[in-house]
Every structure is written in structure tokens, then in C-alpha cells.
Amino acid sequence: MSLKRRVAIVGAGWSGFRSISPDLSYKELMYDAAVQAYEDAGIDPRRDVDSFVTVGEDYNEGTSIFDEYVPDQLGALHRPVQTITGEGIHGLAAAVMQILTGQFDIIVVEGHSKASNILTLPYILAFAFDPVFNRPLGVHPTFVAGMEMLRYLAETATTHEECAAVVAKNRNNALSNPLAGFGAVLSIDDVLTSEPIAEPLTQLECASHSDGAIVLVLASGETAATLTDQPIWVRGVGWANDTFRLESRPWGDARYARAAGEMAFRTADIKSPRQEIDFAEIDDTFAYKELQHMEALGLFPPGVAGEWTLAGGTERTGEFPVNPSGGALGQGHLLDATGLARVLEVVLQLRGEAGQRQIDGAEVGLAFGWRGVPTTGGAAVVLSS
């Protein structure tokens, strides 16, 4: 069952991408992004939108039943509104499914982060651990990433230098992206010698958090054609979970990414991803994750993603650009909305609106999001112009 020309992204808006946003409440941040998205799509939410999907987590917001507080600033009053507690791309998937039922033409997807308002973020992440078998050890949650990274390097013969090359690439890419708060010029050695967090993982290999909001407008095929002459088609979508249990999951292999990718490529009628996809925006919450996810998604054989990165093959000008936006390492991690930041970059690239960081001739892009430590929740979407 392929999604050929049945769902398109027809509008995008954003706000923030800064480490703090003290001048705006979360409602005002969302409203800012929504106004831009609706102008971009040429729609009035009070008249044209059939359903709204937001992503959010109670403990990221500091409010229980957070879906209460989303309708007003999105223009979603007295409309079908649902909150998905997932990665931004899970929210996108919920919107795609609704459009595919044939009952909904225009759907808005929103995600945001006010990470700067969380004073005890490590405790919030620790609160996601199994409360009986893992949490009582009281360890800083990045230990899971450190243990994954060690196993990944061992199983694929990827080197720490290759992981460090991801950081240098992404934060350099961020320098030419106005939607990025963490651009920097870094050498591989800078990364290797930064403070150890959960060895071998170093401080610079962990994405810092950022505030921001992203709103996307999706439309069914026929409606999309009436709204824009440049619809960005959702070619394929896929999402999957591996077991949540630390004790029965593979530590070196991102099995959830493989399953999500297989579904996305199946629904996109893509047989060989590396050849049929021009570039990708892939979760890089930790540097090694970009490489691990690229290999699990079938873009590169085990161990090869690192070699390519060190050799510059995944630079913006390389043969297969990865994270031209700067990724989470360069833009900042937007909590649940960070997958939508990946999607947003693919949309801007495919519309030729990526300015200085525009990739020439990009026609098919992949975005992949991961829900972060300690989860095994991943979601992928293939877009084409």
C-alpha cells in the first residue's frame, strides 16, 4: 500500500531554536510558529483545518494532562484535537493515518520544547526508567548511551574519532543555519578531549537542549494541489518500538530504527534507500547515534557510516549529506519536537529554501527521530518534492 501523492506537507512555521526563550510563554511560542505556518500554507485554522495533532509529555511541561493547554494558541478551539505522547514524527504519522482514512483533508501537527524551564532534567529522564529494576540505582541517565556506544563501537569496529567527526560536521553545518543555536568550529580532538560523561561518551558528543516550536500543515493530495504549487509529498512513514527492558534489548544495534525504516521504505516503494534517497536528517541526540541509526536504517553497512563521515561523504557537499541542518547537536535538542526539526529541514531543503545550506538537486529526503534515553521508540518519514 504506497502513499503515492496522497499526503503532502503544504506549510511550515517555527519559533525559537534558542537555548532559552524567557520573553515568550509556551503558548506564545506555539502561537508564533502557528501564525507563520498558516500564512505559509495560506489557510485560516478557524475555517479550513479538520483536525489538530500535538506531541507533548506531562513531565516535560510540568503539567498533567497537558493536551488541555494546546487548542487556544493553535486556533483549534472546538475542533478535533489529539495529543500523541511521542516523537514529533509519531505525531506526523497520526496525521498521515487520519488523512488516509479519507475523512480529513487538512491537519495541523505541532511540537515544541521549553527545556529551559525544566530545572532538574536528569531527574525527569531518570523518571522514565523502570522504577523497580533500574531506577533505584540512581545513576545519571546518560549511562545507557555510554553503554550503547561502547557496544556499538565494538560490534561495528567504528572508532571514537568517527563519532567525533559527526560532532565537528553537525556543529559546523549549524554555523550556516539561522535556525540553529549551537554552531561551532570544532576539531575531532576538541571532541575527544571534552569532559567524559559516560565513557567513552564525552560532553561535546551529547546534544544540548533548546527551546522552540514547530508547526506543520498537512493536506490530502487534491487539497494540497489547490494550496501550493510546491507540495512536499509524504512518500512513506514508519515507526516501531523494541522492548523497553534494558535487560533484553540489543545494546549495539538500533533494532527499532531498522523496523521503522523498513516500514517507511515499504510504504514509499523504496527498494534501495541509499540510491533512491538524496539526503537525510537523522537523530543525533548523541554523536554515535547518527552513525548507529544510519546503519540500522540500511543506508550503510555496519561500520561504514563512520568511515564515510570521517572521509566527508556525509557533509552537505558530500555524496550523501546527513544533517545539513546541524542536527540536534547543532540546532539543540527540542525534546519531543526534535523529530519535527528533522522533518522541517527536509521540507526546506526540498522546497529549495535552505539558503546558504541548500543541497543542490535534492528531491527525496529521509527524516528519522528517536525518543531518547532510555527508550527504544523511533519513527521515520520519507519526503519528496
Binding site: G62, T120, P136, L137, F143, P196, A198
Partner: protein
């Protein structure tokens, strides 16, 4: 049009402090109760077996994740395992530097398809290799409360104490 007024001065950018006050109290569960009680009382490690999928779950589970069968086949396994992966952690949950780095590992228990996440001690980080044989060091019986912390840490097999 978006906001028609914006904050121009930082001292107008107020924030409100607060928390999510409720606390957690978690039963160990049907499988967990039996697992931790065996450690507490006898220092024994129990697993459950899915005969259909031929998986020995450590820690034991009420159900098989892969075929959803109810698991009521309990087996005792030896308190012995090997390091599958590990890391050295430098900061605590408050992001403060730990007095000294701590080693955390995933230890596969030999006769199972799973294992336990726990601290490693009585060993230096550079001495640890993947596959290294380790054994659990338990608290004295009187101190044990039926918790994952009844295990103090794992150490290289045949350790000193």
C-alpha cells in the same frame, strides 16, 4: 499577525517556580516479588522460561515479550555472569561531579538470555574487557530489603572478599 506586543526588557520576563509534587510507590509486581524475595531470603537468582520461544528471561517476567505466553516455568540460575557492556559515569543526577567515577555495566547472567544492570567494583576501568566473568556481591541478609540494591555490585569472578 503574531504577537502585537513583545517583552523589551529582561526584568519584564518573569517566571513562576513550581513542581510536580506527587511521589511514587511501586510494587515489585507478581514476577518481581518472587525474584527479589529469592534474593532477599536465599541470595538466589530466579528466571522464567518461555518454552515456546526458548528464552530464559532475566529478570524473570510474567509474560513472554515475543509470543505473549504466560510464563510460569521458574528456574534458579547460578549467580555468575559476564560483562556485555559497561561505562564509567562521572556526574550524579544533580549534574555534580561524583566523589569518584563509578562503573555501571550490563551483566549477562550465564544461564539466561538476559541479565542485570548494576555497578561494577573491585576492578579498574582499564582492566575490564567485554566477556569478563563477574559475580554478584550481596549485602548481608539482615540488610537486604528485597530490592535491586540488595546486590551491592558485581566484581570479577573469584574476587577477594
Amino acid at each position: 499577525m503574531s504577537l502585537l506586543d513583545r517583552i523589551q526588557h529582561l526584568d519584564d520576563a518573569l517566571s513562576w517556580k513550581g513542581d510536580m509534587p506527587t511521589q511514587g510507590r511501586y510494587t515489585a509486581g507478581i514476577a518481581g516479588e518472587r525474584f527479589f524475595r529469592a534474593i532477599k531470603e536465599d541470595g538466589q537468582f530466579l528466571a522464567t522460561v518461555c518454552l515456546d520461544c526458548d528464552i530464559t528471561y532475566m529478570p524473570p517476567r510474567l509474560y513472554c515479550e515475543q509470543c505473549f505466553a504466560h510464563l510460569d516455568e521458574w528456574v534458579e540460575v547460578a549467580p555468575a555472569g559476564h560483562v556485555h557492556t559497561f561505562t564509567v559515569v562521572h556526574r550524579d543526577l544533580d549534574e555534580q561531579m561524583l566523589p569518584e567515577p563509578r562503573i555501571v555495566a550490563f551483566v549477562v547472567l550465564d544461564e539466561t538470555d538476559g541479565g542485570l544492570v548494576h555497578y561494577l567494583d573491585e576492578v579498574e576501568p582499564d582492566e575490564i574487557y567485554l566477556g569478563m566473568a563477574v559475580e554478584p556481591v550481596l549485602k548481608e541478609k539482615e540488610q537486604r530489603q528485597g530490592s535491586i540494591n540488595d546486590i551491592k555490585y558485581f566484581r570479577p569472578a573469584g574476587g577477594t572478599a
